[in-house]
Amino acid sequence: MSSADLTSERDLPQRDTAGKGDLAPERDGPRDTGMDDASLQRWLTQTWRTPSGIVGALSSVDHKIVARRYLITAFVFLCLGGLNAVAMRIQLSGPRRGLIGPDLYNQLFTMHGVTMMFLFAVPIVQATGIYLVPLMVGTRNIAFPRLNAFSYWIYVSGGIFAWVSFALSMAPDVGWFAYVPLSGPEFAPGKRADVWAQMITYTEVSSLAVAVATIVTVLKQRAPGMSLDKIPLYVWAMLVTSFVVVFAMPAVMITSTFLILDRLVGTHIFNPAEGGDALLFQHLFWFFGHPEVYIIFLPATGMVSAIIPAFARRPIFGHLGLVLSLIAVGFLSFGLWVHHMFATGLPKLGASFFTASSMMIAIPNGLQIFCWLATLWDGRPVIRTPLLFVFGFFFIFVIGGLTGVMLASVPLDLQVHDTYFVVAHFHYVLIGGSVFPLLGAAYFWFPKITGRMMSEALGRLHFWLAFIGFNAAFFPMHIVGLWGMPRRVYTYPAELGWGNINLFITAGAALFFLSFVLFTFNLVHGAMRGVPAGDNPWDAGTLEWATSSPPPSYNFARIPVVSHVEPLWAEREAMPVATGLRVDARELLISTVAEARPDIREKSATPSIWPLLAAVAVGATFLYSIFTPWAIVWGAVPIAVTLIGWFWPKGDPEDEE
């Protein structure tokens, strides 16, 4: 069916539904067909509202409320991880500084890595997706909203678990990668490595839950007419990312589970003395760990693909090429984990294969860069803060990508692996490739989320502070790495001459940290005092700008019908809409996977306290399990109880309210 057919149809196709029952449920209520705007909004507000009071707040399943919590929590963890980094940089600002001893320092860099990777980077990109994907595909809520709420509670309790253990000096000190045997039972006595293992397994549950909800939302809840070729690139990026999460996260969960089995139950999976293998850990870990980079980076490319067209004032160049490169990067990301292990002495031929595959991933990434540049070439872009951060992304990420090409070379990697060169490289990739786009996205979508604008002047100041601070902090690390400074050292001798350059790096890091203080001020100030934004302050083209800012609980009063990648640019006057959904129940329009033809109406879950209770039960089980394997047995009882409550009764979800 072409989209033209759909736009002419202002109502759901009334198909013969014999035997399906979905389009004509037994209890049928009032529908939005032909209803006037005021009463429609009244009905929908009543139907989709989050109950008031504390219990109401804790039982919310609105994707926007859950996403806002996610975003704020992830930002708090970013600040905590940043404080770790500042502490480390102060210790490293000169040779043989005695401020922080090895015990604390090793906890600091482990917590920095764990926090930034598992508690900031992945959650924040997923949280942005939770907020934006339903809006951008034109639906009223994310798929599996209770699972989505559950994922947040899991995530925040996992984060608190890690940070409380740090406060108690029980934080993992074996690096965020926690290689065995260092993290094994023999060389890591105490509970620190157990905290690492269980916290990883636990928080990745939340990541998987969000990925599944995102995949289903994108594939089944798109607005009528949003066929595969009309999905916005950001949504494509989140779809590919979610698939990567689904395939990568289980690998790290297996790794951490094997580790806790070795430590707690006495298995010998990683013990070479008993026939196990320490290298198995690295293979499993990096089979997750390399795709992890792209889990963080792909959503950021989606953000760049959203920001550039809005300010270049034209649709993105090479939409299809960009979609294909997203998919290619997703696939290839699983084929290069061994480039983290070149120094382990693997057979040369095998290692060379991974050189070739690692080099290859630069091709789809290069294509993305070229398409963005080609988009910018068309006319003079309007330079506002979000676009400035995209320029920063180009400047920094391209350096990170090119040093990545260097690291892909086996012989070259043998000199720079595990040195500050690598530290520089992956901060260029992760901060340049992900944090800069995220900051741009924060300025770009802030008006949609809060209804207010952030200060443009402060935004520009923020950009320059962050840009200069970042480069001053991380560029010299390439050099000191080549001069022989290994990473994960809490001190270094003066004779090696690394003192001055490290002092310079620390000053840059301080400046970079300062930029985040300014950003926090701009966020708070913008949310409280910012200029009202209006629905579409940037005159952007995708669906999230079609609704008011901030969006109402039901997102769209009437479900839009899409005939273009930038529907708001194609339809400058009024959006065509599809109607036929009930207004007294939380109904979603479910569409077909490829062409997004309206298929069935489906009820979306109502608010429930059970996801929170289930998360508490799961969390308590994991916490207890760092002390005894029996926790899994006893914990099964409360988990079962809460899951029964969650899914009880099996009838109409309306009955549960």
Binding site: G101, P102, D103, N106, Y179, P181, L182, F187, P272, A278, L279, P309, R313, R314, P315, F317, G318, T344, G345, T355, M359, M360, A362, I363, G366, L373, A374, L376, D378, G379, R380, V382, I383, F394, F395, V398, L402, T403, S409, V410, L414, Q415, D418, A472, F475, P476, I479, L482, G484, P486, R488, V489, P493, L496, N500, F504, D539, G541, W569, A570
Partner: protein
Amino acid sequence: MASAMACVLFLQGCAGWQSALDPKGPAASELAWLIWFFTGLCAAVWVLVMIALAAPLVLRSRQRTEPLVLDAGADDRKFRVVVAALGVTALILIGLTLLSFFANRTLAAIGSDAALTIRVTGHQWWWEVRYENAQPNRILTTANEIHIPAGEPVRLIVTSTDVIHSFWIPSLAGKLDLIPGHMNVLDIEANKPGIYRGQCAEFCGAQHANMGTFIVAEPRPKFDAWLNEQLQPAAAPTSGEAKAGGDLFVKRPCVMCHRIGGTRAGGTVAPDLTHIASRQTLAAGTLTMSRGNLAAWIADPQGIKPGAHMPVVSLNGDELNAIVAYLEGLR
């Protein structure tokens, strides 16, 4: 800006002692050349991308406010440019991949005829060094400092008994991991006599930062003389104080961990001390060898390397002096 910064930083530093950019052997030279080549090429690519980014901002003047909705076929010229850029990217990557293969082959060829084999075993946080020999009485075990003949390839067989470490002397060769249950082979060669510093490169616990090592490359005759000297049992103490120190050493817990050839001390979990005073440093490159540092290290190892496995042994001032006097004589 970045390149300007790089120049300034390069001028002030390059101490070279432990630098991949200051190669002193054939493997490191090959790698340094590779590093410079990659860096140059990548810098050129980066500059081109930046020009492509800056050009539309500088050259064009029209600013569009109404978004452009494209008709099909308008982007043909850009499409060709993008495809061409992609083709060039692919060619560069293929070139760099081939270059890596050839560099690998060059590196592999370096040690094929090594006459000397040294077994390096990583421990938390020191290096055990064993010179292999067909005659059992010519096998030498020492610690932390590796002597090699200059101008000759030397084969290192590296492994670990506890956690994963990584052996890395940047000015001679790339690094290689020491993994329990695995034997890895690394060939190194120093072009000229000299002392080259290295350090453990894989995080290995509390004192990873203080797990240094030195390669001392000497002309062949000097190396042979050194080896013969080291094969001798420890020198008998000469002064009365040193004698008392030797007695103390075997009476105190020191003997549980350390070996001193020719005495009753036979521990193997800590560095062999038979010729400790002949080494440049103490505690795996942490302190330079001197009477004061020896005393400081024995009196308070946990203050110098917190978390190290050497415990504090309670000794009074006289006992400490005696043991230091004894160890000082072990040349």
